[in-house]
């Protein structure tokens, strides 16, 4: 996973709520067996509309997505995270996220930032007024900055540490392989196996 400490970039205002993962990447794109090549599937149906915000050339190269609430609801497809990252996004800012999407993001190093709706709207308005305006997302300080304004956001210490170090969860867990073995020996005898 790519480490995340701080990121400064331009932002795309996506003024929609309930942006479910079927919109982020439609199911037809999930047939791939690799982890790459998903950038063209990002918002594939919406991008067919020339007026869709991502088709506006002034937002090309933006790396922060500013969405309405309940971003990433629905399907557990991690392909949604891959598509956003491969398109070039490092951060998504919204008032609420689907739980599974948010989890998937932090496994991959895409930072989901929760800020109150009015702050997201303030950022969206700024990016609409001036598409070249840059926003800084500072994970070390847990802060989003726009010009002289700053808003702090919450993220638990452990996830923040893992993101900042770019650590692989599996490697961390395997350090506790002995604990897992001990637990396994004490499981209830009637629990099923698939054999």
């Amino acid at each position: 996973m790519e480490a995340f400490t701080t990121h400064t970039g331009r932002a795309v205002p996506l003024r929609r709520s309930n942006v479910d993962t079927d919109q982020i990447i439609p199911a037809v794109w999930l047939k791939q067996v690799s982890r790459t090549g998903f950038e063209n599937g990002l918002f594939a149906a919406w991008r067919e509309d020339p007026s869709f915000i991502l088709n506006n050339p002034v937002y090309q190269g933006a790396s922060i997505l500013l969405s309405g609430p309940d971003f990433g609801t629905g399907s557990s497809r991690e392909h949604a995270v891959w598509a956003l990252q491969q398109y070039g996004f490092r951060v998504v800012i919204a008032a609420r996220f689907g739980d599974i999407f948010r989890n998937n993001s932090t496994k991959m190093g895409l930072l989901p930032v929760i800020l109150p709706s009015e702050v997201v709207e303030r950022l969206q308005a700024a990016a609409e007024a001036d598409p070249t305006v840059e926003i800084t997302v500072d994970l070390a300080e847990r802060e989003v900055r726009l010009g002289s304004e700053a808003w702090s956001f919450e993220i638990d210490d452990y996830t923040r540490w893992r993101l900042m170090e770019g650590l692989d969860d599996i490697g961390l867990t395997l350090r506790h392989a002995d604990d897992i073995a001990v637990y396994e020996n004490g499981r209830q005898p009637w629990l099923p196996t698939t054999v």
Partner: protein
């Protein structure tokens, strides 16, 4: 202070707890399908890791499979299914491939085999894993990185979600189903209402539901944003499990039941949030919009965006009506439908097919109607009862098992602008095919709609 059911099951599975870290949670059962697993197996290979507990893992083919006999014609879909077969063989995982008597939708086969039992932790790279919570375990969907994690370690690091009780008081009126209940719950609390929670469904109406109905309710917990939904096990649960291939037997059965009886929320336990809903006031419920929270009683009309005070909900409603091609004020019962789909992990079990057959018996459908059993075993059982003949006589299509029209990954899709009444779980834009319009309904409403060609409650059939 007492503990909730969710807390009891969680605590039983904590492998390791340390300050400032998520709990390391043991996973009792890992379900696999072809869509969210290939990159996870690749990850294992690249890191030189193995599957820790293939004996706690089971795989099936469901999302991509066509529901008519024959090979998969789409080469990309075929590659994905073949990749699962190679991975299952390489890592020693039991697989139920297309054509196998045990094949079916991943959330149908777990309970059917008796692999889903009370008090277990169950995960799958699929958000509708919440289905399995109907047996009183904690079951939730995960992404591919977590699938790899569970394959490698049989654990997951996770913070325990908060607990929510949804108290369903009263009795469901005749003709009102588990599907109507969960659609009404989602409309009440919203698609984000359950975020950060494990929901426990409680109360008289829940206790009276069959296991199939309980699975329908828990299945759609994710549509309210909840990580998991669960129902305390009781005699209904035990009766469903007894004698299934992987359920305990003999003395082990007695010991298990003894333990399972303790899997209930203590009387003095406190939930972080409590929501109440009176089942006796409910009527058949359908969705009109593009998220599962945008629903209303079938007897009402398409709402006007102005009815929503919250500006975000209002603009979402405006957008949804435009996508759905609906006007405010149109009675929901006058909306014409092109296609009816009965099936999916939400409503693809035998009880659902019986309910649809009861309505279609002696009647004719006027829409394209797909009846898709959730598993090969459900198909066989339905055929033994002659349900297939009822459907065929009515003019409906009787298909092979699979996810089918629940999501646009296999040949069963809507065309742009086509409208469905669907017993599945998501009415998102394009979910059933690009440009398709979906109304979520119960199997009973789906069947009645197939007869009239517009959204219809069974009670309104002549």
């Amino acid at each position: 202070m007492g503990r909730t059911l969710a807390e009891k099951v969680w605590e039983q599975h904590v492998v390791r707890r340390a300050d400032g870290e998520p709990d390391l949670l043991y996973i009792d059962l890992h379900l696999i399908h072809e869509v969210t697993s290939p990159q996870a197996f690749d990850g294992l290979r690249m890191a030189g890791r193995t599957v820790r507990r293939p004996d706690l893992t089971i795989a099936t083919e469901d999302h991509n499979v066509p529901t008519v006999l024959g090979p998969i014609s789409d080469p990309v879909s075929r590659t994905q299914v073949e990749t699962l077969r190679k991975n299952a063989a390489e890592f020693g995982i039991r697989l139920h491939p297309m054509g196998d008597a045990g094949q079916g939708v991943v959330h149908i086969i777990g309970p059917q085999f008796g692999l889903t039992q009370p008090g277990m932790t169950i995960v799958c790279g699929d958000s509708h894993t919440s289905t399995h919570g109907a047996f009183g375990g904690i079951a939730f969907g995960i992404g591919t990185s977590e699938v790899e994690h569970v394959l490698a370690t049989q654990t997951l690091p996770a913070y325990r979600p908060k607990t929510m009780a949804i108290e369903v008081t009263g009795e469901l009126p005749v003709g009102v189903t588990a599907k109507d209940l969960i659609l009404a719950i989602i409309a009440k609390i919203g698609t984000g209402g359950g975020q950060g929670y494990i929901v426990e469904y409680r109360g008289e109406a829940i206790r009276k539901l069959s296991m199939e109905g309980r699975m329908t309710v828990c299945n759609m917990s994710i549509e309210a944003g909840a990580r998991a939904g669960m129902i305390a096990p009781d005699e209904t649960t035990f009766a469903y499990l007894k004698g299934r291939p992987h359920a305990p037997s003999g003395e082990a059965w007695d010991a298990a039941v003894e333990y399972w009886k303790g899997l209930r929320t203590d009387d003095d336990a406190v939930f972080d949030k409590v929501v109440e809903i009176d089942a006796s006031t409910l009527t058949p419920f359908v969705t009109w919009g593009t998220n599962p929270g945008q629903g209303a009683p079938l007897g009402s009309a398409v709402p006007s965006p102005e009815e929503f005070d919250d500006p975000i909900e209002r603009s979402a409603a405006e957008r949804a009506l435009e996508y759905m091609g609906l006007s405010a004020g149109t009675p929901l019962g006058e909306i014409p439908v092109d296609t009816v789909f009965v099936g999916s992990c939400t409503n693809g079990r035998l009880e659902d097919l019986r309910a649809a057959a009861d309505i279609l018996r002696g009647r004719k459908v006027v829409t394209r109607t797909l009846i898709v059993p959730g598993s090969m075993q459900v198909k066989k059982a339905a055929e033994e009862e002659g349900l297939d003949q009822v459907f065929k006589d009515a003019g409906a299509e009787w298909r092979e098992a699979g996810c089918s029209m629940c999501l646009g990954m296999n040949p069963d899709t809507l065309k742009p602008g086509e409208r469905s009444a669907s017993t599945s779980n998501r009415n998102f834009e394009g979910r059933q095919g690009k440009g398709g319009r979906t109304h979520l309904v119960s199997p009973q409403v789906a069947a009645a709609t197939a007869v009239t060609g517009k959204l219809t409650a069974p009670a309104d059939l002549a």
